[in-house]
């Protein structure tokens, strides 16, 4: 029934190295991401998964290596440029705006698409109001998609963990990203919530054609939904390939079983 249209490579990394004050977080990492695919980065704790995500996203700047994004090579860009170029993300420890409602949180995801300035905002008139309403509609579609209608106006601080994760995904989706980075989207969830999240991730990938790069600590879930998987351990790439290939890889098994290095 499904026919996936995985496209060309749109993002690739070559020899990425990153260190913090002498501590190596990533060592000469290289892999690529194809359009419309679900690419997972897995690895045990401290493997450098989040650092890798932060490099993609422009939060960290690698000391070495090259990132080629849509044919253009760059050493690193700042978070703003990254957002501008269509990369959105969620965070491992939920980074929602606690004082705002679900609706407002997701609305913030659309800020780069808003044209009105603060003077028009202050008057709340004409184009500003029309724009607000147009974006509200888009946001409502996301709310509908994620099935969180009933908490639309609830301050996010009051929500259960699993719902917060969903709202955060909503905020990222609001930017209509071409690449979506998910940092442990299923951490801390119960089985049912994990299933829901898997469904949403697959739907996003399928219906919106969004390329997804996701990090997971737990191998199980990811293997079912990813097209290709990169495995990191101690900041180094130890495997890369389809879930089946990775599962059979001896280094990966060792890393997860905790064989001494």
């Amino acid at each position: 029934m499904m026919n996936k249209r995985i496209g060309e490579v749109i993002l690739s990394f070559e020899n990425i190295s990153l260190s913090f004050g002498g501590v190596k977080a990533l060592t000469r990492i290289g892999f690529d991401v194809r359009e419309h695919e679900i690419r997972a980065i897995i690895g045990p704790n401290g493997a450098g998964k989040s650092s890798m995500l932060n490099v993609i996203n422009g939060v960290y700047h690698p000391q070495e290596g090259e990132i080629v994004f849509r044919g253009k090579s760059r050493r690193g860009m700042n978070t703003y440029e990254s957002a501008k170029s269509g990369i959105a993300r969620t965070f491992q420890n939920i980074a929602l705006f606690k004082g705002m409602s679900v609706l407002d949180n997701i609305m913030t995801g659309r800020n780069l698409k808003m044209r009105s300035n603060f003077l028009l905002d202050a008057l709340y008139w004409g184009p500003a109001q029309r724009e607000e309403i147009a974006h509200r509609r888009k946001v409502e579609e996301i709310i509908d998609f994620l099935e969180i209608q009933h908490i639309r106006k609830t301050p996010v601080g009051r929500l259960a963990y699993g719902l917060q994760k969903r709202v955060e995904l909503g905020r990222a989706l609001a930017a209509e990203p071409s690449i979506l980075l998910l940092d442990e989207p299923m951490a801390g969830m119960n089985v049912e919530e994990k299933q829901d999240m898997c469904r949403f991730i697959l739907d996003v990938n399928d219906q919106l054609g969004t390329t997804i790069i996701l990090i997971e600590h737990d191998m199980g879930v990811v293997m079912d939904i990813s097209d290709r998987v990169v495995v990191l351990d101690y900041g180094k790439k130890i495997a890369d390939g389809t879930p089946d290939e990775v599962r059979a890889n001896q280094d990966v098994i060792d890393a997860y079983l905790g064989v001494a290095h």
Binding site: S116, A122, A128, R171
Partner: protein
């Protein structure tokens, strides 16, 4: 209990985005506005509202509300603590004074606007550190604003038009030939300005600019990642906040005091406005008004109480005790609110309203 909302459904986003989505709120608010604009003057004309009420309560209440609104935008919405509010008010007051003084035929409202813009400019300059520092580091840094600006205004004679005492006499407020002289007319003037500016502030905080402030406040890293630019957002908050404080300072000088010296805008005033924001409610437009009312009324209530105690039971309190008690009361209230209800009176009001909406259910 009195909120009968069944049947108030929203068929458009415009309806859903209203400032007061509940009909009952709209009615009450309309009533308050009408009362403030028509009812109060009417009561005054039959002698039920005294001059004292205008000059000592209503007008300062409104002016401080505006300043608190300004600080609330910065501190409550954008999360940048400032202890230099009075300095921005001073800039607004003295800039307006000089625009009036030095430009022939300058309309007073335009002078206020320009005064506010000057304050906004100063706010941007002193807001620059906020890009690198946060929390009480920033608060400490804003003290620089406070001391430096007051010093400038005191020492550089040009600002006070070389007045020997350093005190300026504000020009009269006149619009289209009408001079606002009576305490009631000044009240109405202030009320108009404050109403319009409060509306604009409300509009800002419920649209993209306001969301950008709150995003930076709640989780700056995430805000950056989704595309808000921290520098722009913070400086915008400083600018808008200072603008409000500046206009409020101009009103303070023109509609309340009449004459001003730079020392009038001291650290104590900054603190007082911070207290209004904390007690009223961080991140709430309504809270700015509630906090201002509270801080304006508290000393009056205290002094009446002390007087009453002295007269009725012959308690002989040392002179000056009133201001000491006032300080203690302010201090303990701040602590009390931070512990018990960090979101201030506005939140209390909100909780009460929620209860009424769900009545008779408890939650």
């Amino acid at each position: 209990m009195f909120y009968r909302e069944a049947g108030q459904f929203k068929a458009t986003y415009a309806e859903d985005n209203r400032i007061f989505p509940i009909r009952q709120d709209r009615i009450v608010f309309a009533f308050i506005i009408i009362f403030a604009f028509l009812g109060v003057p009417l009561l005054a004309s039959i002698g039920l509202v005294s001059n004292y009420t205008f000059t000592a309560i209503l007008t300062p209440f409104l002016i401080f509300s505006l300043a608190a609104l300004g600080l609330n935008i910065l501190t409550g919405y954008a999360g940048q603590l400032s202890l230099g509010t009075a300095a921005f008010m001073a800039v607004g007051a003295f800039a307006s004074y000089n625009f009036m003084l030095r430009i022939e035929g300058m309309p007073i409202l335009v002078a206020f606007m320009l005064g506010g813009l000057c304050a906004a400019g100063v706010g941007i300059v002193f807001g620059l550190p906020s890009l690198r520092i946060r929390g009480f580091y920033l608060a400490a840094a804003t003290l620089a604003t406070q001391f430096f600006i007051v010093w400038c205004l005191t020492k550089i004679g040009w600002f006070t038009n070389y007045s020997s005492s350093g005190v300026i006499s504000a020009q009269k407020i006149a619009i289209l030939g009408y001079t606002f002289e009576s305490s009631m007319s000044k009240y109405l003037f202030v009320l108009s300005v404050v109403s319009v500016m409060a509306l604009l502030a409300k509009n800002m905080v419920r649209s993209n600019i306001g969301r950008s402030w709150m995003a930076i406040r709640d989780m700056d890293m995430a805000a950056e990642v989704i595309g808000f630019r921290p520098m722009r957002t913070k400086l915008m908050a400083f600018a808008v906040s200072s603008f409000y404080c500046g206009v409020s300072g101009a009103l303070f000088a023109y509609a309340y005091l009449g004459t001003v010296e730079p020392e009038g805008f001291n650290l104590d005033l900054s603190f007082r406005i911070l207290f209004m924001v904390i007690i009223g409610g961080l991140g709430s437009i309504l809270g700015s008004f509630l906090g201002s009312a509270f801080i304006v009324l508290l000393p009056i209530v205290l002094s009446i109480t002390i007087q009453f105690l002295e007269h009725s039971i012959g308690l002989n309190l040392p002179s000056g005790i009133g201001s000491s008690i006032e300080l203690m009361a302010f201090g303990s209230l701040i602590i009390f609110f931070l512990i018990v209800e960090p979101h201030g009176l506005a939140r209390l009001w909100q909780i009460g309203k929620e209860k009424l909406r769900l009545w008779p259910f408890p939650h």
